[in-house]
């Protein structure tokens, strides 16, 4: 490929960082992937547009959540639905690169507007990142390559072979700087969060059902060392990201870790859209040289002819478009058609059932006894067992959390019994009893657990007071036995005597 020679190269390093000219392959890839990722949840919300974003529904603006009231106009359905359809159309035309800058400007404005309208069920951090990326795409030249606009421009050019133009890279740089700030800021948040580095926060997120299924996360949530290690790794990676991502080898390393990190958020937390948006933004880090390397590799391995199929199919399709039809007119007609079709579709969906015989749907009745039980103001006392997350025995801690669950011990080992608590809890007195298989109490330890404590440890040196056999550690709180942890003691008693001591946190 012949590239135009770069002239007037910026003199300073900062100038070259922002104003070096390259063919915008990277932002073109972001243009193709990001609207797909960001648009998927917006497509899913179409059946509920009336409920979420119109004056005939229940929108709650972000401004209201911050205490500024309703700043944005909330439109009636007959205006909001066509605008919403325009948003969806703009995202699609941005992907295919048809009237790219117009599509992206409209998509950015409407995406931010509709997300702002629903601060509870639509706006979230992935929409913020997507908004930033859409804004930067709309001021870039992402439509210059791999787009319908590029094809139409090539078709209308006469004479010499048209080569992709090169443009200053600063929009891509700003996307890269965005990610640097996002990850650094996220690291700050984690550092400021209590109990993040002990693993409790990660555990509770993985056990929450606020996102989609996360079976891997549910298993990981019960393995404290894994939570701790991943907590440190994620913060170190986020802190290092801005300092390594612009170095040749560092870039591959941190972006690879980033892709792995986001993949793990899908596996362990059930997040779908957030990782998709972030990974689509990673293409902003792809340079012209990277694309040439991949292109040469594709040619070398002999799959180049398959790679040409999408372009060939696209060209054959686009060749059918008469030259005399201006692209702007086509886009406008598409927009009008979508607005009318969307309005009709939304009316036919009739979400509130106004066209039914009764003029709406009936509320589901509730059993009076159940309702009264739920409404009763008299406080339910929390069961003692619910004040505890778990009670385990082992010998090893990692980051103050028990790392190994054991059911067999030998003489001379230092047993650690750890009770993890569910905050908020009151100040408590808890006991740990060592009992034999006939339920006779051999040892008893107790300690105060104050309201800010998240765990309580009991240690017991297994000495010659015991004989080989089956025992159990019993956790008691408010004189109730909460947990029983059975274990087998094997081996030969030595000369060392049992020493028990109570360790507080």
């Amino acid at each position: 490929m012949n590239l135009p020679a770069t002239n007037s190269l910026p003199k300073t390093q900062l100038g070259r960082f922002f104003f070096l000219r390259e063919v915008p392959f990277g932002v073109a890839m972001v243009r193709m992937m990001l609207p797909l990722a960001a648009g998927t949840p917006m497509f899913m919300r179409f059946p509920h547009v009336r409920e979420l974003y119109t004056s005939d529904g229940a929108p709650v603006q972000m401004f209201e959540l911050f205490g500024h009231g309703s700043v944005l106009p909330v439109l009636p359905p007959n205006l909001a639905v066509p605008l919403y359809s325009l948003l969806l159309l703009s995202l699609i035309t941005a992907i295919i690169g048809f009237r790219t800058r117009l599509s992206l400007c409209i998509a950015t404005t409407l995406y931010i507007y509709f997300n702002f309208l629903d601060g509870v069920g639509t706006m979230t951090k992935y929409s913020v990142i997507a908004s930033h990326l859409l804004l930067l795409l709309s001021i870039s030249n992402c439509g210059a390559v791999w787009s319908i606009d590029a094809f139409l421009k090539k078709r209308s050019a006469t004479g010499a072979e048209v080569v992709p133009s090169s443009f200053p890279v600063w929009p891509a740089r700003l996307m890269q700087l965005l990610f640097a700030h996002v990850y650094f800021g996220a690291a700050i948040t984690k550092i400021q969060t209590d109990s993040f580095f002990s693993g409790e926060q990660m555990r509770y997120w993985m056990l929450s059902n606020w996102n989609y299924e996360n079976p891997v996360g549910e298993v990981m949530a019960m393995w404290a060392p894994m939570l701790l290690i991943s907590a440190y790794m994620s913060v170190v990676w986020e802190m290092m990201f801005p300092f390594l991502v612009w170095r040749p080898m560092g870039r591959l390393f941190v972006l690879g870790l980033g892709a792995t990190f986001h993949f793990m958020t899908w596996l362990t937390l059930g997040l779908y859209i957030f990782p998709a948006i972030c990974v689509s933004g990673y293409f902003a880090f792809a340079s012209e040289r990277d694309v040439l390397i991949v292109r040469n590799f594709v040619r070398r391995v002999g799959v180049a002819r398959f790679a040409k199929w999408p372009a060939a199919i696209g060209q054959r399709t686009l060749n059918r478009i008469p030259r005399a039809v201006p692209a702007g007119v086509v886009w406008t007609c598409m927009a009008a058609f979508c607005a009318i079709a969307a309005t009709e579709a939304e009316l036919r969906l009739d979400i509130y059932g106004t066209n039914t015989a009764e003029g709406g749907y009936r509320l589901k009745p509730m059993d009076s006894t159940v309702a009264r039980t739920m409404i009763d103001r008299q406080q339910q006392n929390i069961r003692e067992q619910d004040k505890f997350f778990n009670f385990e025995i082992g010998t090893q801690t990692v980051g103050e959390l028990l790392a190994n669950r054991r059911t067999e011990f030998t003489f001379g080992e230092l047993m650690l019994a750890q009770a993890n608590l569910n905050p908020p809890h009151e100040d408590m007195w808890i006991e740990c009893l060592l009992k034999d298989e006939e339920n006779r109490t051999i040892e008893q330890f107790g300690q105060f657990v104050t309201r800010e404590m998240l765990r309580a440890n009991f240690t017991y040196k297994i000495g010659n007071k015991l004989v080989p056999g089956n025992y159990q550690m019993v956790l008691k709180s408010a004189n109730q036995e909460i947990y029983h942890r059975k274990f087998l003691l094997s081996g030969t008693p030595g000369t060392e005597s049992s020493v028990s001591s109570v360790l507080t946190n």
């Binding site: 104003f19 709650v60 509870v120 913020v128 800021g185 509730m366 409404i375 908020p424």
Partner: protein
Amino acid sequence: MSRWKSLIACMFIGVYVSFLSWGVMAHALKVGLCGNTLSYFVVWDMFCGWTAWDARTHIIAEDSKGNYFEVREPWGEFHPFGHVARIHYDNTNHLLPAHINNVLKHSVHEGIDRVYVVEEVWPKQYNLPPKLYAHYFDRPNDKLSYFHLRAVCAEDGTPLSSFPDWHTQQRLNAVYDNPRLQRQSKQATAMYSTLFTPTSQDSGKTLNSSYNTGLSTN
């Protein structure tokens, strides 16, 4: 690239990077962000804490005949980020009045007297699948939900009375379960007829007020 374009590009870069940097700095140092909606675009607090208890919101309407109804979208709930309905993500309760009004306005029912907002909480360990729970806890999964009345509203969602959320209530219970603190709080300086307004001596013709409602706590 023309000089004007370069200048505009430089200005945009400067403003944008400053905006991003302000967000990170302000979030790290905890200054200048309170109540600023635009800060949501530059503060990256995606992981700001999760509780040990899972929670759901139930809304129960009572009509004049003493019948109770679930105030839930009869046309089908919207699940924004998983399998949980939108109302359950309303941590600040800003959606609640609009949600109640919208559901009751667009559904068929008798005249509603009162609407009760109830919080359901349970410890998160009970969310584990049965096999995992049995493996780790070696005890039956006897999950018990705790219900806590949060608010009583009118038919249009207007709150008539509200109560602290369950977590706050537990903390208050723990603190107040202390005879010494109870005694001291009851001996606090009374608000009525004891506070003196310095400007009251000289004014009398103009209405004076402070912007704040008094000394605020944490």
